[in-house]
Structure formats: C-alpha cells, structure tokens
C-alpha cells in the first residue's frame, strides 16, 4: 500500500518546526509503524536528506521510549497499543497520516518527533519510591500482602512512562502517570510509611513542572497503552486530601 505522510520536522529545541510531506510506498501490512518509518528513513538518507528522528528502543511495547500522535491520537488508533506495536494492517492504501510529537509545555520538542520527558523522572524523584537501604530488608514473606492489593499494585505499576496521557489530556496533565505511581506504592503495606508525604511531594513536583491540572476528562485513559485507569487519579486525590487534613505531612 501507499500512504501519504505529513510529518512534523524540527531541527532542535526552540527552532521553528513545520510539516513535511512524504510518500511511503510499498508498505507491507506486516510492518510495524516504526518499521514503516525506518523504510521511509532509508529512502530519505539515500536521497541525501536527514531521517525523521523518533525515540524507540525495545519495540516490544514495554520500555516506553516510543510515542507520537498519529492523526490526533497518541500511539495511533489501536487501544492498549504503543506505536512500536502498531502494525500497518490497521491502515488502508491511500490513507493520509498526520504525525506530530507530544505537545505539552513541560515536554519541549528536542527534534522532530522526540520530546523531553524528563519531568516524569523528576516526579518520581520527588517521592515515587519506598526508602529501604540495600541489605536491610526483612525476610520477604514476613509481611503478607493480600492478593487483591498485590494485583492492584501490579495493575498500576504497569505504566511505562510513555507520556501519552499527557499528550492526550486537553490540559496536558500528567495526573494519570502520577496517580499510577501513587496507587502502586500506596496499595502495598511497604508503601504506607511514606504514603502521605509521597503524594504531596509528587503532586507539588507535577505542578512545578508545568503540567496542567486534571479536570477528569478521561482522554488519558483512552490513550494509555497500559490500561492505567483514571480511578488511580481518584485515589491520588483522596490521598492528597487525607494528607492535608489528617496527616502531619499536610
């Protein structure tokens, strides 16, 4: 099949960007979306142009490196799928695709489709951990964890920090990401001692990084490749409220 691509090209942070048009020919339905771009890139290089830069690494949907907007949808049209796992059989001959980087003031464009997602790391730095000095941990089975809590923690821990939630949210909020980590650690007995300081610190960092607030639109949940639920934002909100009113951390 043959596709018409409009791809955002931008040489560096702060540079003017623009859409460039390309034609992707002989696209096989078995290609992944990134493989389709690989082929386009090989042609660009042969032609003496610079290839389209995009982040990627594992190409298995787990590292969270990849991600951009395809026709206005983060990671493309398939639910629960990263763009590296999106295959071209989801498109038809002649389709026209607009490919844009994540747009958020907190995620400045570095080049083409690559954005700077380091604010997500800083949100984790603010409190997304359980403090335990290596070697000082108690025997693992000393604290039983109800299976339901373990499962909830795991559901929330599946987040890959791809940033699609921020990209999808009309307010460019990273609450889904933040809520997922707060829920993961808050669901486990090991996470209790730091639970309330964690939520306050993480939300403060979230706001300081320039993300928008959450107005409970739910676009993030639809975009999330790992099925992270907006319920976790509710849990974060509840934890913050408790931190403010019941806990010394407030």
């Amino acid at each position: 099949m043959k596709l018409k691509l409009h791809v955002w090209r931008q040489n560096g942070p702060g540079n003017e960007g623009r859409f460039e048009d390309y034609v992707a020919e002989n696209v096989s339905e078995h290609m992944s979306f990134l493989e389709m771009l690989d082929v386009v890139n090989e042609q660009l290089i042969a032609r003496g142009d610079e290839p389209i830069a995009f982040d990627h690494d594992c190409r298995e949907g787990i590292c969270g490196s990849c991600g951009f907007m395809i026709n206005g949808e983060p990671h493309g049209p398939l639910p629960s799928t990263t763009v590296c796992q999106l295959h071209m059989r989801n498109y038809r001959d002649g389709d026209e695709l607009w490919i844009e980087p994540w747009r958020a003031t907190a995620f400045p464009v570095i080049r083409d489709l690559i954005v700077d997602r380091s604010p997500l790391d800083r949100i984790v730095q603010a409190g997304g951990y359980i403090s335990v000095r290596t070697g000082s941990a108690p025997e693992a089975n000393n604290i039983a964890v109800p299976k339901a809590n373990a499962d909830l923690a795991m559901d929330a821990a599946e987040c890959i920090a791809c940033g699609a939630c921020v990209a999808a949210c009309p307010n460019a909020s990273a609450m889904l990401f933040t809520g997922a980590k707060v829920t993961h650690l808050g669901a486990l007995p090991q996470g209790q001692p730091e639970r309330y300081t964690r939520v306050v610190e993480m939300v403060t960092m979230h706001d300081d990084e320039g993300f928008g607030h959450c107005t409970n639109h739910g676009a993030c949940q639809t975009a999330c490749p790992k099925n992270i639920k907006v319920d976790y934002i509710g849990r974060l909100n509840a934890d913050l409220r408790k931190a403010k009113f019941r806990h010394p951390a407030g």
């Binding site: 096989s28 339905e29 078995h30 290609m31 992944s32 990134l34 389709m36 690989d38 090989e42 290089i45 042969a46 610079e50 290839p51 830069a53 982040d55 990627h56 690494d57 594992c58 190409r59 298995e60 787990i62 590292c63 969270g64 490196s65 398939l78 796992q85 295959h87 570095i110 080049r111 690559i114 997602r117 380091s118 997500l120 790391d121 984790v124 730095q125 603010a126 997304g128 951990y129 359980i130 335990v132 000095r133 290596t134 070697g135 941990a137 108690p138 025997e139 693992a140 089975n141 039983a144 964890v145 109800p146 299976k147 373990a150 821990a157 890959i160 920090a161 993961h184 486990l188 090991q190």
Partner: protein, 637 residues
C-alpha cells in the same frame, strides 16, 4: 595480561562471607570524596548506583535512553530465580548452585555461582521491601513457578513483566538518590571511550546525544553495566539500542574479553516477516508447555497447516527426545528448528519458521483454559502477525537473545584493567556456556546491589589518594580520538546506509557464527568481516552533523564497533574446538546430534587480548576447576 581471579580460599560456601570480612573498608567520612562512574542504568547499573550512593559514594550514572527506566532489563518477562524454597519442594542454595553450574555446561566459575545462589535470597527481600509487586498466593505469600525446565519452583514473577518491575524498583531507588544529590544521572549520554591513567581506569568520554557535545568525566573507579551484545546479529530479541560499544572500547584499552562466542539463542520468537524486519519478539517459553512443535514431512509443502494430515507432520522434538519432547532445552530446540528449515521444511511465507500448534491442547483442555494460560501471549502474537493462534498454529523461530560472554572479571567483578569493574550481562561471570532461564535478572541484581558496592570499596580503600581530574591530558587525547571518529564517519558520504551494513553483518554472523558453527564457516566469516568493515569505512553514508541529535551517527558508531567485535567472536568460536552450551560446533556432536564437550582441552574461560584492528587477538586462559560439582555430560534423551 595477567589473569588473577582472586577467588578466596576456603570451602565454596564460606568464600563469600570470608571475603566480605577480609575486604578493606573505606572510612565513612571519606566516601563522599570518592567518585564512581557507572555506565548503564539497567538492573546492574541502577542497583549499583543507588546502593553506592546510599553508602555515601559520589556517583555519576550514564545511559543512552532518555530515562534510566528504559534500560533493556525492562523487557525481561519470565521471572527471577531465588533459592527461597517457599514451596518446600526441596530447593536450596546448594541446588540452585548446582543447577546453574550444570546448566552452564561446566564453563562457569564455581565460586561466583555459589555466591550468586546465596545472594538470591537477599534479592527477593530487597525487591519486596521496595514495593516490587510480585505475584502472590491468596494467603498473601509470594508465589513461585517453575521455569526453564527447572525441577523446583523457584521463579518469582510479576505477571509477564518481571524485568520491568525489578527495574522500576532499582530505578526508583536510583531516582531517590538523584533527588538527594548523591547521584548525578546523565541520560541521553553515550559512553564512547574509556580513559586510563597510569594503567588504571580513571574516567570516560561521552557524547551528549542531544547536542553532540563530547565530554570527559573523571572518577576513582569506573563500572560498566552496559548489557549484552546480541545485536551483533542485527535481528535479536534485544532492544534496538543494545550495543557492544562500551565494553568493546574498554577491550581496546586493555580489558580482556572472555568467551565472546557464548551466545544464547531463544527457540520461541516470532519469525521475521520481511526484509524490513527491525527486531524479533520473544514469546514466552512457557508456550512450549502446551504447544506441539512440528514441520511438514515433505520439503516445500506449502499447504495450509490444517490441510496437512497427521501422518505428514513431523513432531521432531517428540521424535528425537521422547522424554523431554517439546520441553527440550533452549539450545537443542533451537538447533532442531534450524535443521528443519535448512532441510527446506520450514513454514510460513518466508519458509523460516516451525509450527507451535495448540490444536491438541485446545481439544483436550478447551479454548478457555488455553486462553486463561496464554491469552495475552496469543493476543500479542495476533497483533504482530495478523493471524489467530487459536485457529492457525503459531509460527516460531529461534533468535539471538542473551550473551554469556563479556569482559573478563575477577571475583571482585574487576576486569583486567585496574579500577574498571563490569556488572550484569556485560561481564562474563556466572552463566558459563549457557544461561538458565530467570537467572540473568538474578545476576544483574546480585552484582549491582550486593557485590559491586562492597568490592569497589575494597579497591578504593587500597588506592593511593590523588587529584586526577578531567584536566589531565589523557582526557584531551581520548576526546580528540572520539571527535575524529565522528568526523570521519560523517565525511565518508558513501552510498550505503548504516542499517544496511548492520543488516549484512547480522546475516553473516547468523549464518556462520549463529546456532551451529563449523570451522569452514567461521573461516569464511573471518574473511568476510574485514572486507565488510573496509567497505563500511569507505562507503557508509551518515547524514547530518556532529553537533545535533543525530541518530544515524549514534548507530554508525555502534556498528563500527560491532564490525570489529564480530571478528573476535568468530576467532573465539573457531578456537573453541568443542561444543558446549550455546556454542555448537558441528564437528563435535554425539551420534544423537548432541553437543560434545571436551573437558580435557576446554575446561577454561578463553580471555582475549586486543592486538589491533584486523590483527589476530591473543588468547589467555583461566582454568576452571570443579570441586563441588562433578563434571557430567548432560543428556536429555
């Protein structure tokens, strides 16, 4: 090059505790004056950085991704072993030790493996305390499963994302130390060379991938935790960015490279679908518990699988290994699949693949049971191939997956270059000629959390204090070389892309130094690799500039190193004139087609010294002695 493995004296189960007592300690007040560089933020690198920072060292950690959490460890699915014996099924440190030595086909160092088995217990405690959401039983205790043919259930797992959860645990610990200022994290920085001063590793030179800046970093000790080099085959289960650059550059500067030919091929990957294929996806090995592997009896049989009658199907693993059947070990299952394909009996559009058929188990257990066991894997397969594995048999094919070889290290995880330590998949340490499932994660975390932070202290405590920093002329020299290489790559402006060369090298390695290796094939490879390398340096086209984000340039540097390293791999494979573990020399098979070890001549680690590009490398040996485990031929008949 001198190989002193520094294995402590005493019985194998007392060596580590004795060694811990004998190691020198750094005065706590001085620790923050000591700088350590850690390259890599996977399980090994993140764990080491976080722990050393907790101990008080001043740490600089580097990774080439945009976040330390994206290191390739994130992709590990199956699980992590530990001899906790929670299932009370007879497991013990002793048994894990034994299984690992035997699994590695007696090419690993006993002392290291025993230490690994001991530490496995602490790893689980540590990870649980960090909040790693391991699978649990209804009673709230940790769940286990058996993995990779082990006879006890000792594998801990977090859904199909064990590596992800373990890495996030280490990553979170690391980020905590970043916040406290004890670790400076340098993301999107690629290490391009190692700097030696007076024969010791004293720093590295990196390229800032955002803007191309070449920078120097000095420290008292350097740790490489840069992962494996399976991408020398181009197509592998590893992430696209996995590379040999860091350890290869260190090797060029004097670090011995041990057993480079020990690579592991994983039997259950999704076959390539076309020449645009960029990587291969691993399907969990657990599928072999219920799937039956077969190919048509006739060559070139292109009928759809459902039209091939029972009598014309060859369930070759069940035929060759009646007792293990479809669960035959990874290397055997892989080799048999390649054989079938080479005979022209492969399946699928490309003819490269064998069937993994669930028809019978769906018939026996029902579709629901199969869906419950493997639903997510089936979905992943369907998403990638567009075929429904409930209706049509899956197609699988082996792919390079893990590299047991790596920089040689002593018991303290220090390479032959003083001060240069190596952890995780990047070193050669614990798996011998073959790695058991679920033990790479264990080794990465053992190295990172529990071994390196102590042994590095011993090294630093013995060091004479000095005030080396990046103003030392050695840094400027290396920086210049690094810059020159980039400029040279950019100025060739030839006709072929980097990817094109990488693909060609990969195909060549897969053909001649892949699953089955022969003297003739390896000699051919040794002739072709230098030719390809010469072509690369004459005809590669790297667009763009040096002072911006330039992914072609990054890739070009990595491929340039693979082109040198591939030759070493073939030298090693040629030299190791026996079959063992993942290394199969067609000249050495038993009558039944099994690997035949040669303990007389090859019970050693081959450690190679760099003698210049294109020159024959120099071999050294570390003899391996087996005192606690009896040397035995494995048999899966």
């Amino acid at each position: 090059m001198e190989l002193n493995s520094r294995i402590p004296a005493g019985p194998v189960d007392e060596k580590w505790s004795r060694h811990r007592f004998e190691m020198k300690l750094v005065n706590p007040a001085n620790k923050r004056k000591h700088k350590v560089i850690v390259v890599g933020s996977g399980l090994a690198g993140a764990a080491a950085s976080a722990t050393m920072a907790e101990l008080g060292y001043d740490v600089d950690c580097f990774c080439f991704q945009d976040s330390p959490r994206r290191a390739h460890s994130i992709a590990a699915q199956g699980g992590i072993n530990a001899a906790k014996n929670y299932q009370a099924d007879g497991d013990s440190v002793q048994r894990l030790f034994y299984d690992t030595v035997k699994g590695g086909d007696f090419r690993a160092r006993e002392a290291n493996v025993h230490r690994l088995a001991e530490i496995s217990l602490n790893i689980i405690d540590q990870c649980v305390a960090q909040g790693v959401p391991f699978a649990r039983e209804y009673g709230g205790n940790l769940a286990n499963r058996s993995f990779g043919g082990a006879q006890v259930s000792r594998t801990f797992y977090a859904r199909g994302q064990t590596g992800q959860q373990l890495l996030l645990g280490a990553y979170q610990a690391l980020e905590k130390e970043v916040r406290s200022g004890k670790v400076r994290m340098h993301t999107r920085h690629e290490m391009l060379d190692l700097v030696l001063i007076d024969g010791r590793a004293r720093g590295i030179v990196t390229r800032d991938l955002m803007n191309g800046a070449i920078e120097s970093w000095a420290a008292d000790a350097v740790v490489l935790a840069t992962g494996g080099y399976s991408n020398v085959f181009f197509l592998s289960t590893n992430a696209k960015g996995c590379n040999v650059t860091a350890i290869w550059r260190a090797h060029r500067r004097g670090a011995g490279f041990a057993n480079p030919c020990f690579t592991q091929i994983h039997p259950t990957c999704i076959p390539p679908s076309g020449d645009y294929q960029s990587k291969l996806t691993l399907m969990s090995e657990s599928l072999r518990n219920d799937g039956r592997i077969w190919v048509p009896v006739k060559q070139g049989d292109t009928r759809p699988p459902k039209d091939i009658p029972e009598a014309e199907r060859d369930y070759y693993l069940e035929r060759h290994y009646p007792s293990f059947g479809n669960l035959a070990p990874r290397d055997i299952a892989s080799r048999r699949a390649k054989e079938a394909v080479d005979e022209g009996r492969g399946v699928g559009p490309s003819g490269v693949g064998v069937y993994l058929d669930f028809r019978d188990s769906i018939g026996r257990l029902g579709r629901d049971v199969i869906a419950e066991r493997y639903g997510n894997l089936f979905d992943m397969y369907a998403n990638i191939t567009g075929e429904n594995p409930y209706e049509v048999p899956m197609r699988i094919y082996p792919a390079p997956h893990y590299t047991m070889g790596g920089l040689w290290v002593d018991y303290n995880l220090m390479s032959t270059v003083p001060g240069l330590h190596v952890a995780g998949e990047a070193n050669f340490s614990d798996h011998g000629a073959n790695r058991l499932g679920a033990s790479a994660l264990m080794q990465g975390l053992a190295d990172g959390y529990f071994i390196l932070p102590l042994t590095i202290g011993d090294y630093i405590a013995r060091m004479k204090p000095d005030d080396v920093d990046t103003s030392h002329p050695a840094f400027a020299d290396v920086e210049r070389e690094v810059r020159e290489q980039a400029e040279r790559l950019l100025s060739i402006n030839g006709s072929r892309t980097v990817n094109d060369f990488h693909r060609e090298l990969g195909a060549l390695m897969w053909e001649y130094c892949g699953m089955a290796r022969s003297e003739e094939g390896l000699r051919t490879a040794l002739r072709k690799i230098p030719e390809l390398r010469e072509q690369f340096w004459r005809d590669v086209r790297v667009p763009g500039g040096a002072a911006t984000l330039n992914q072609s340039l990054e890739h070009a540097g990595r491929v340039a190193d693979f082109l040198e390293f591939a030759e070493l791999m073939c030298y090693d494979a040629l030299d190791r004139d026996e079959s063992c573990g993942g290394h199969f020399r067609v000249e050495h098979e038993t009558a039944e087609g099994e690997a035949r070890r040669d303990d007389e001549r090859f019970a050693h680690a081959s450690v190679w010294e760099f003698t210049g590009v294109g020159n024959t490398p120099k071999k050294h040996r570390e003899e391996l002695t087996f005192e606690s485990v009896q040397l035995a031929q494995r048999s899966y008949k």
